[in-house]
Amino acid sequence: MKKKITFDKEDEEFFGQVGSFGVPKFDGEMNGGVPRGFTMVAFTETGSGAELFAKQYVSPAEESENTLYVSTNEGQPEIVRVFKKYGWPLDINVRTIGEEYNSNVLERELLASRYRLEGFRLEDIQRLAQTRFVDENNQDYLTEVTNEIMALGPYFRAAIDSLDFFLQRDDPNRVIAMIRMLQAHTQMYRGLLLISVSVHGLSPSIRQELASIADMVLTFGVRTVGSDFETSMIVSKFRNAPENLKMLVFRVTPEEGITPETVERIA
């Protein structure tokens, strides 16, 4: 049976049909913003500014408690530093999976290799003799993140930056299945979901799957022009609005973060 969700009238008025990308000029380029219920997939290149875009995308935080930023590469202090730098709200929910993984898994692995290489010290032995239960470290981050997003209510805003972490550690088919669930949840709850994934090392079939699930596909690129770097984003899919497909060159300013260049460049 299809789940029926009722939306509050006031909420409908407040949130409207579209939400901001967090980049006002980009909202303008996309004819007002991103339609509520959209799942966006951003294929990214290293150094293309996608990490900053993901943070900027959650910055509108219409409801901070209903906004979630999942980072798999950065730690809390780094994220807070960037948010402070641009004056973005700091009261949103942030999950730093990379940091958790480092302390839960990598530190254990490091300790295990120390035990294997150097052996146990007396205090280790005493602790081992008093330890009766195994500390479960097989945390399923994919399920946890999926559940966390699924728990967000109507008009939520969430970003997963990036999917690489899960694709490297889980069965890619399982990751895709979870993304399908998240897409359905986003659509049903009129949420906004951004998922970034690095193009390097991504298999064509997974890329194709992700692109077909997404309502909007962005590609972040970087190239050298003379002695400068030029960063760009390509909107290659925008469900039901093909007029929005375009390529935008953008720059990063200390005031606004990512800003598309709206002035026609002379080649």
Partner: protein, 259 residues
């Protein structure tokens, strides 16, 4: 003519009622003894009493449990009056949970390779060496070896472990589970344990008038003469008691080593 002096090896006095008599004084110091038996034959109790008696004599003891969680083992053994939980709490008997040890060593795989086996040997010998363990029990070597897929690797593991422990002066009981054994069968699950062990003690049941009586038989013990007769075991609150079976006679007796 002067009579040749007889050399006698130092003994690890087990303290188990009747066992030292069977072994003419105890297990030769530093031996690796395989205690093979069917389920419920009293292997764990016997091994734990071996440690308790050692701890009471001031020896450092260690027990590695792979068959059941250490919490469960301690709960089960607490019912015996000979066992005092303070021995564990104060570190006289060090009980190690193999699952915890595996986790600490990062041995989360279902099967162990050569590196893993070496890591395991190193850890056990490190523990024995660091805390000066003179009595060690591994319960059971069968469960532990299930993770080692190659027979050659099992042989290397047991042989190296036994050799290192003997060098460290540690008398070891390796518990082995046998589920189906006849008189012609192996005394161990993998067939290699019995070949590397210095001693083999077999434990099982005999049926007598509709009752299953536990028995123990020392099949082999290098470095000492010993009785090879079957002895009845009784697990009393005060400990294991061994008495010669002959006093009950041998009529209508059927050996039950799972056969």
């Amino acid at each position: 003519m002067q009579a040749a002096s007889t050399y006698s090896r130092d003994r690890c006095v087990t303290g188990i009622h009747g066992l030292d008599e069977i072994l003419r004084g105890g297990i030769p110091y530093g031996s690796t003894v395989l205690a093979s038996g069917t389920c419920g034959s009293g292997k764990t109790t016997l091994a734990m009493e071996f440690l308790v008696r050692g701890a009471l004599a001031g020896e450092a003891c260690a027990h590695f449990t792979a068959t059941e969680p250490s919490v469960k083992l301690l709960e089960n053994i607490r019912q015996y009056a000979f066992f005092d939980m303070n021995m564990v709490d104060t570190g006289l008997i060090n009980v190690f949970d193999m699952d915890v040890l595996y986790s600490w060593l990062g041995l989360d795989k279902s099967t162990f390779d050569l590196d893993d086996v070496h890591a395991l040997i190193k850890s056990i010998t490190d523990i024995v060496n660091t805390i000066g363990v003179t009595r060690l029990v591994i319960d059971s070597v069968t469960t532990l070896c299930y993770k080692i897929k190659s027979e050659q690797l099992i042989r290397d593991f047991l042989f190296t472990l036994g050799k290192k422990l003997a060098t460290l002066g540690c008398t070891t009981i390796l518990i082995s589970e046998i589920t189906s054994a006849t008189e012609n069968a192996h005394w161990s699950s993998f067939g290699v344990e019995e070949a590397i062990a210095d001693g083999i003690v077999v434990m099982g049941d005999v049926e007598r008038m509709g009752h299953l009586l536990r028995f123990l038989q020392v099949v082999k013990m290098r470095g000492t003469s010993h009785s090879r007769a079957k002895h009845a075991i009784e697990l009393t609150p005060l400990g294991v008691m061994l008495t010669p079976m002959l006093k009950w006679g041998s009529q209508n007796e059927t050996a039950h080593w799972g056969a």
